[in-house]
Symmetry: C2
Subunit: 318 residues, 2 copies
């Protein structure tokens, strides 16, 4: 007479996560999911965790939390030149998390699933006595030997970025009341980064990564991977109207703050036209900001050619 009815955990999953489940998920009812790999393709994997109070604000709208969790991982797929396929997610939630929070969180995921062509494959939901802690593993696919890599920049290659730099860091400061953000544009950029998927960069760029921990620090990664130096001109780094309106005092924050999720690329100078064509096809802005050279440092020059000293190169989550 023991009726093993599903406990709360299973109700949560059925209400909010099963509607997100795609092919191979087996409706989240089995111990694991099944995936037939796309024929002739290699798979690309990335995993990122987000903790309330560290990577997002506890009072961020739940739909943006779900979307950001997915997008920071999609940005890693974009940096490899991969096409999104599926994702797994674990959610460790405080026991007093409302059903409405889960509903909005799932709605944010559902919208982005439709937009980016990806679906939930599996995961786990648990309680935590700590802050909401989310982990997502994204799976993409790419043609063999076509993945973009961090290594590969050559001396003389130009440094290019997509979009605008610094909005995410300023958006966090805006949400903390430290930077004016009259129309909420900066906050929106912090909450909803734009993964630069779909750019045909294979054979065009010699190295690529996404800027998540600060432009200067992340450029250092490309330099170390290639055994090179880089010089960028602060005046060339693309900033949004909202970032410019915040004032020049915030320039160092833009150069070193995290949460950009734009692509940082090494581009041979004779590939400029191909890069511009690839970007134009996706309606994506790209900007040349500097050049790789011999050495091992990243230098940022002001308008007079002098080196700008920065207190820290970027952001560490630890």
């Amino acid at each position: 007479m023991n009726n093993p009815g599903p406990p709360a955990e299973f109700g949560l999953i059925a209400r909010h996560f099963r509607p997100l489940a795609g092919p191979g998920s087996l409706d989240l009812l089995d111990d694991a999911a099944l995936l037939e790999p796309p024929p002739g393709r290699h798979l690309v994997f990335t995993a990122d965790a987000m903790v309330a109070g560290v990577h997002f604000l506890s009072d961020d709208p739940a739909d943006t939390v779900g979307a950001k969790l997915l997008r920071v991982n999609l940005s890693d797929l974009a940096a490899m030149g991969a096409t999104p396929l599926a994702y797994l997610m674990t959610v460790s939630a405080p026991r007093d998390t409302s059903d409405a929070w889960f509903a909005a969180f799932a709605a944010g995921l559902a919208r982005d699933q439709a937009r980016f062509g990806i679906a939930l494959l599996g995961g786990d939901t648990t309680a935590t006595p700590g802050p909401m802690t989310l982990s997502l593993t994204a799976i993409g696919h790419v043609a063999p030997n076509a993945a973009l890599r961090r290594r590969g920049a050559m001396a003389g290659d130009e440094v290019w970025v997509t979009g605008t730099i610094g909005d995410g860091a300023l958006g966090l400061l805006a949400l903390q009341g430290r930077v004016p953000d009259p129309d909420g544009w900066l906050a929106n950029r912090y909450r909803l980064p734009e993964p630069r998927l779909g750019l045909a960069l294979h054979g065009v760029v010699s190295a690529c990564m996404d800027v998540s921990d600060g432009l200067v620090q992340d450029l250092g990664h490309l330099c170390r991977a290639a055994g090179l130096a880089a010089i960028i001109e602060a005046g060339l780094v693309p900033r949004s109207p909202a970032a410019l309106a915040a004032g020049e005092d915030w320039l160092p924050t833009c150069l070193t703050g995290g949460d950009d999720y734009e692509l940082l690329m090494a581009v041979p100078s004779n590939h400029t036209d191909a890069l511009l064509a690839a970007a134009s096809a996706q309606g994506c802005r790209v900007t040349r900001i500097g050049r790789f050279g011999v050495g091992h440092e990243v230098r940022v020059l002001d308008g007079t050619g002098l080196t700008i000293r920065l207190d820290r190169p970027g952001w560490s989550h630890f």
Copy 2:
């Protein structure tokens, strides 16, 4: 003159996690990992999270925490009949976590990687103001259409389990001082479950899952998936000498406690010999404990044929 030296996060990864990184991980230096799927195989994915104080004890030895994190996921692969391939992991650690803790955590993973034939593919390390929160996505592979499933049990099939049931739940109680455990055997079973990989169960079992939330509750999942009932005899449920020594008062705990990570199988009665041969080939104990039938309940019978009433069928992590 800004030297973008790697911050603490990268040192941690280099010291402790890079040595775990396998083929396709790109030494954890890129934005994502690359994997060429094994030709002709389907992939199997599972993800589980573990939170200190919920799924393991904060003072559990760190090497067992790493091993358990991997093993609970390997148990899901085992339940699908899959062969381990690679894993991704996110670690959200309190800022005061010692380097020694990370070293031991990684050592536990390294030992199990060698034993189970799996390697680290990628992941993320972040700080958290809350308890240590770990998430792991395991990837396995299986022949097309050979994955074991939860659905598929037929009326008349026998209910079988691997290993012994209840040790994990009693082990947690032992660590809390509520159950005697003179030689630490039960605690060890709680900390280091044994994933039942490598059993040749395709074509032998009609349904399979791993017991992680309590035998009775998990048997309910097999029943619901098949639209069936099941009756098990408590006296047939295999218990370890340590579990038996704890006394009959703990029988309900063994039947409903979590953390077994044994396989629960539906087996047509004419497949018994094949099951025993598959188990024998791996040195794995299997025990028949009951039968599936028409209906929709799980009943547990005592030695006189009376139904045992249980306060709860199993364990919810939420």
